[in-house]
């Protein structure tokens, strides 16, 4: 009789311990899943899932050409698009390569010229470049499309004839 009671008590104790263990596991899972995103936007596998939480109302397209009208690599001049719907450089190991282009924002002519002249230091063979900026935004109540199209002729202050 005593043995039987002891066995029963042991089984119940095991079950209770098992249940407690399971509930602790479930609690830890929920706690981590709920709290980590409060403190960090991204810490894979935890995430605040911030994709496309911005609401851009315009964007720009840039092209850059050399004096012979050949299209140059926009990335080499920091005019490429880094936008991917997520906050830049968050939840990833590296920041993207710097670009003047900020999605949802149109760089001013002053910003653009200063940026390109700075980048032209790496291209002493180019006497000048021509940059076009197209702004795409709402054109009426239903559509979006290009509203501004600007072209800049930007001289290279560090141009060296013999570098060509």
């Amino acid at each position: 009789m005593i043995a039987s009671t002891d066995t029963k008590r042991t089984t119940t104790g095991n079950e209770t311990r098992q249940r407690r263990r399971e509930l602790i596991a479930a609690g830890l899972f929920v706690f981590a899943f709920a709290t980590v995103p409060i403190f960090r936007t991204e810490l894979f596998p935890f995430s605040r899932a911030p994709m496309f939480s911005d609401a851009p109302v315009l964007y720009c397209e840039y092209t850059i050409n050399d004096p012979e009208c050949r299209e140059l690599d926009a990335r080499a001049f920091g005019l490429h698009r880094n936008y991917w719907g997520n906050p830049l450089g968050v939840g990833v190991g590296y920041q993207p390569v710097h670009s003047l282009d900020r999605f949802g924002h149109a760089a001013s002519g002053f910003e653009l010229i200063a940026h390109i002249q700075d980048r032209l230091a790496d291209h002493p063979d180019l006497p000048y470049v021509e940059v076009t900026q197209t702004v795409i935004e709402p054109i009426d109540d239903l559509h979006i499309g290009p509203t501004e199209w600007m072209r800049w002729h930007i001289d290279n202050p560090r141009f060296r004839e013999k570098a060509r």
Binding site: F33, A49, S53, Y83, W84, G93, I144
Partner: protein
């Protein structure tokens, strides 16, 4: 029902059919996801300076994080672990091996990338949760497998299902909340949707892409549906009645995303189907009907119809 009764209910167990179905789907979906993140190694692409802490693996030395062989090793371990887990071998270690190495594959991708994608977050979280199930119930599962009564033994605890509902609801809820906090109700302005479709189209000539780009009212309606669907993730955690409807809305949201942008949220759709639609209730009923003798089967069918 009191809180202690609710908590007690979490440890109630049902036959493992639903749990194994979800696990099989998770493993099935995680294989192409793992393949994608292994093949799309971003470490050789141009990048800027190092960011701060990005993943739970950020504490590892850079030599380990940026060595592609580390990710390939995770890939090999994942495929071996997933096979063993699916075959119910080496439990619970195969479960941990598969889920942790899958975490490793995605985390190492992120550690070497400049852009993040969220297509594997939910799959990874649920794999970890299911590994937790196999770990905490390992003795009962092992005994049931040894005695060949796995399918007839209640082994699937309710807390695994409840945690899945929480994870899915919270993931979408937070994503919706972020949109409210970052941009407010103006997020669903239609313009941003038109811009995204123009910039990231799967096929710019598809009917839906042309429709969205040519009519802001359509874009606005779709954006509101997305915002309401995502934010309702919080509601789905607590409301059993609304959960399937929110699930359907979110599945529709992903179908739209895939059609317009081609983003690979297919695994999330499978998870939403299994967790938010009432499969947790349907599967035991189907199993009972299938297992019942013919007369009982008829009665069960009548009972189901009567409901």
């Amino acid at each position: 029902m009191s809180w202690s009764e609710r908590i007690d209910r979490l440890t109630e167990r049902t036959l493992p059919h639903y749990g194994v179905l979800v696990l099989s789907c998770l493993l099935f979906c995680s294989v192409p996801l793992a393949g994608y993140f292994l093949l799309k190694w971003p470490g050789d692409l141009p990048h800027g300076p190092r960011s701060g802490t990005a993943t739970i693996l950020s504490f590892l030395p850079d030599q380990v994080l940026h060595d592609r062989r580390t990710q390939i090793a995770c890939g090999v371990l994942f495929f071996a672990g997933a096979l063993a887990w699916a075959a119910h071998r080496l439990l619970p270690w195969s479960a941990w091996l598969a889920s942790l190495s899958f975490t490793g594959i995605i985390a190492l991708y992120a550690e070497n990338a400049t852009q993040l994608t969220h297509v594997a977050h939910l799959t990874d979280m649920l794999l970890l949760l299911y590994a937790l199930w196999y770990h905490t119930c390992r003795l009962d599962i092992a005994a049931a497998l040894r005695e060949r009564r796995f399918w007839s033994t209640p082994l699937y605890p309710r807390w695994v299902y409840s945690c899945s509902v929480f994870a899915v609801g919270y993931f979408y809820g937070v994503s919706g909340l972020m949109k409210w906090l970052t941009s407010g109700p103006g997020w669903a302005n239609g313009v941003s949707m038109q811009i995204w479709v123009q910039v990231f189209p799967r096929d710019p000539d598809s009917f839906w892409a042309r429709l969205v780009v040519s009519d802001r009212r359509v874009a606005t309606v779709l954006q509101w549906a997305a915002l309401i669907g995502e934010t309702s993730g919080f509601v789905a955690i607590v409301s059993r009645g609304l959960r399937p409807w929110i699930g359907l809305l979110l599945i529709g949201f992903h179908i739209g995303q895939i059609e317009l942008f081609g983003w690979g949220f297919h695994a999330n759709m499978v998870i939403l189907t299994l967790v938010f639609l009432p499969f947790y209730e349907w599967i035991p009923r189907w199993v009972a009907r299938y297992k019942a003798p013919p007369i009982q089967k008829e009665a069960a069918a009548t009972a189901v119809t009567a409901r």
